[in-house]
Amino acid sequence: MITLSGLHKRYRTRELETTALNDVSLEVGKGEFVAVMGASGCGKSTLLNIVGMIDRPDAGSYQFDHIEVTSLTEGARARLRRERLGYIFQNFNLLEELTVFGNVELPLLYRQVPRDERRRKVREVLELVGLDGRAKHRPGQLSGGQQQRVAVARAVVTDPELILADEPTGNLDSANGEDVMQMLQTLHEQGATIIMVTHSPSHAARAGRIIAMRDGAVVPNNTLEVV
């Protein structure tokens, strides 16, 4: 599904240039559950941003389902994002001014899904994550675990083929973290491809494959197949 070849990414300020990705190449097959691990600053989030089409590499190739993403316009990438990808972040990234329902509904609005269908789908996924009774609450009225479940609901409401999770349990206690991992596993079993950045070896072990990164590059032979 995903083929990355020779990706490079640098961040430049007036005084400093930082290499975030240095000649990264990897493949992720359809239906895989891949965990990406590494120290802070190794390029994990940058890699996820590029795979998630919200950032562009400086060099290299990225093919998503045989589509060369690096040559797409921003509009085309936005279309791909909303139709085929879902995101879950460490700090949830919910919009405070919207209710739980409004946050989960947002991707469907950008896809111009008709109103009745939108309402049906949102109710479905909120029921799935156990928050159907909190639809009218605002994020500030929820616990961390509940907010992350809202984020999960938002990520899956469009039935995405690829789910990107950037340290989804980083701000949660172990119980809530376990709930989120359970949900990811269920989604994987239902056919979703998942790429998850994590610091937790136990959570990484739930993935089918672990990719290790160091200093902007994939550590060779440190890709472990988990049996």
Partner: protein, 803 residues
Amino acid sequence: MLHHNFLAALRQLWRNRLATALNLIGLVIGLGCFVFADGTASWISGRGAEALYKNIYILSEHMTAPGDNEPNNPSTSVLLAPPLRSELPADYRVARLLAPSEGESGVRAGSTKLFMQVYYADPELPRMFPLGATDALTPPHSVMLSAKAAGLLFGTKPAIGQTVSIGGVDATVTAIGKFPASISLFQVNGSDPAMLASWDIFEKLHPNLFITSNPTNWFNFFASTYVAAPAGSGETVAGLDARLDTFGARHVPKGNQQAHFSAAPGYAFLDTMADLGVRSDVTGLTAGTILDLLGTVILIIAVANYINLATAQVLARAREVRIRRILGATAGDLLRQHAIETCLIVAVACLVLAALAVVLLPAAEAQLGDILNLVLADRVFWLHLTTAVLATAVAAGIYPALLFASLPAAGAPRGRRSHSWLRSVLTSLQFASAATLLIFALVAHNENIVMRQVGEPAGVDPVVVIQSDPGTGMASFRDLLRTIPEVRSVSFAAYAPWGAGVSWDLLHKNVPGAPTVNTVINSVGDDYFTTMGIKLLAGRPLSLLRGGDQPPPEGGAIATQEINVVIDRDLATQFGWRNPADAIGQSIDAPDTGTLRVVGVTENRPTNMIVMGIHGNLYWSADNQAKITYVRLDGTHLASGLAAIDAAWNQAAPLAPLKRAFASDLFDAAYRVLSTVTSSISALVIPAFLVALAGLAGMAIEVTRSYLREIAIRKMLGATTWDAARLLLWQFARPLLIANLIAWPLAFAGAEGYLSLFTARVALTLWPFLWGLAGTLAIAGLTVAGETSRTARSSPAEVLRAE
């Protein structure tokens, strides 16, 4: 998506209530000033008056020899209406309206004698225009009075049924009329009518004008002739032209010239106030255009204010944009979202303005009456308003919307400080506009003081100006005045001071190639300078009786001998005679008059206000028949002096009304229009500053917030609270200093242009500019003091812990 964006906009405006309030204030003031300025422009340019003239046409008559091509003249002979009436369909109305060319007429009611503006009209006129009484002029010898005229003539007694005498013809008051507001058919001589008299009175006073067999009477274009077609008749200008095509050939006695008639829309030749002293023939600008420009300037300040605050808000929403982009929002989605926010706040501003208009409408109607109706009937006013609202929404919203849509999905957006250049530029522009208006207002205020000193000099005996003509007894009346003990001096002139009767001429020194000077010409009698208290600096005054100073020849003839003149210091300087004594005996060439010889130089004491591009005053003798009498009274015996003047008049002209006024009152009346204009411009200073300050207040919050961390670190390293305050104040002072650098040349140009209108000018010094700078800094300083103080005193430990 529209529903989502609308709700998101509402939420956004509510969440940032302070910024919303500041933006609303700015937009309401900006749009409000535009509405005021364009409404005033609409009124003085007569745009809305078209509504008064639906289905009404004004006729023109022009006389041509075969082959001539004369332009239309919106007046006709008084003889046109009767034969025309018989030719048009019965449901058409034809009416004449006439304002006598000599201006005000003498009117008597019992023992009360006054000069009043009297118009004459056919009985049909009150049925064509909304004057308040449709049959008021139907009875023979009837008059309709304005409420003010009724009060002047009859006091508290009911006026209807009373008798007035116009030029010796008695008439009955049949109605108190409601004459349309200024810029209507009645504004023929720039003044409102006091009385509308029936046409038969005019016929009685001027019977010779109505002899139809006399071709000359067809050549005298005294009247405005109106035709009203019934509603729904489909009549047009072309249709009426066709009806009038052969009218002249059929009704006007043949002579060397042919009479032609044509029609135009009734509003086509309105006498507007569009010029209002700005000499549009020279500047190309009308007063209406200038007002529209000023209103637009305030609106631009408001738009700049919005852009400033909205840009700061956008940068604070980077996280929201990132999330929306990740979820699939395109740049177009984000652009639309922000555009709806801008449209919403502009719509709310319009609603607030509309609410204010509803609240203020009763008071406005009471004050402005028909003027308000004229403005509201003006389609161009509504077009301008709609355009202004749409342009505001687009201009204010486009940059913040583009910025909002350009924020990246990944990586940090360019920080708040990287847009500080835009913030500084916009704040500078806002304050530059406000500072320009402030400096201009200060200069206008100083000019007011100078003009008042010229028009109402302190410590001088008052001068009474008599504008009535006692007929053949003018010389004896003036001799009678000279016998009054309270009268210090009597003189005369061709024109009253501060009035419309100004003439000027091009002069040059009597040497080849000398440059020309345009100056005001004053025809004055003996003792004029003594009477007016004008000091002689060199030479001698004019005197027809004692000095043999003859007036220039009449009828455009060139004088065969030198004409003795007195000039003022300003004119002497123009000719290069810096020392007044150097001018004595010098010759000046007046190409249309002859050679003038300077016998005296006076101080500068102009008696005219606005004469653009014209310098100084020249005086030559008038003969004793000059119509305006000047009397200098002993200021300590004013009441008895005035009573003696009245008695002398009653002796010289017992039946004629006396029109007298103090010269200072004439100055006040003349200056009122100009001072209203300058007051209006000065009044715009307040909203301009309010808008700019609203923006500055918003900017203060954003700037102080962005400097919080830096100040905390600086304080940790040893900076004091005062060091922090100075850092912040410099961020605000910098755009204000730039604003004044922009404002000074603009204000200088505007002030120079404004002062060039006046005959007595205040010297343009640096002081108004320095006061403008000080005022700008002080007002801005007070606005930002609170936020600056709070931020400068913040605890570094708390700030860094929160960060």
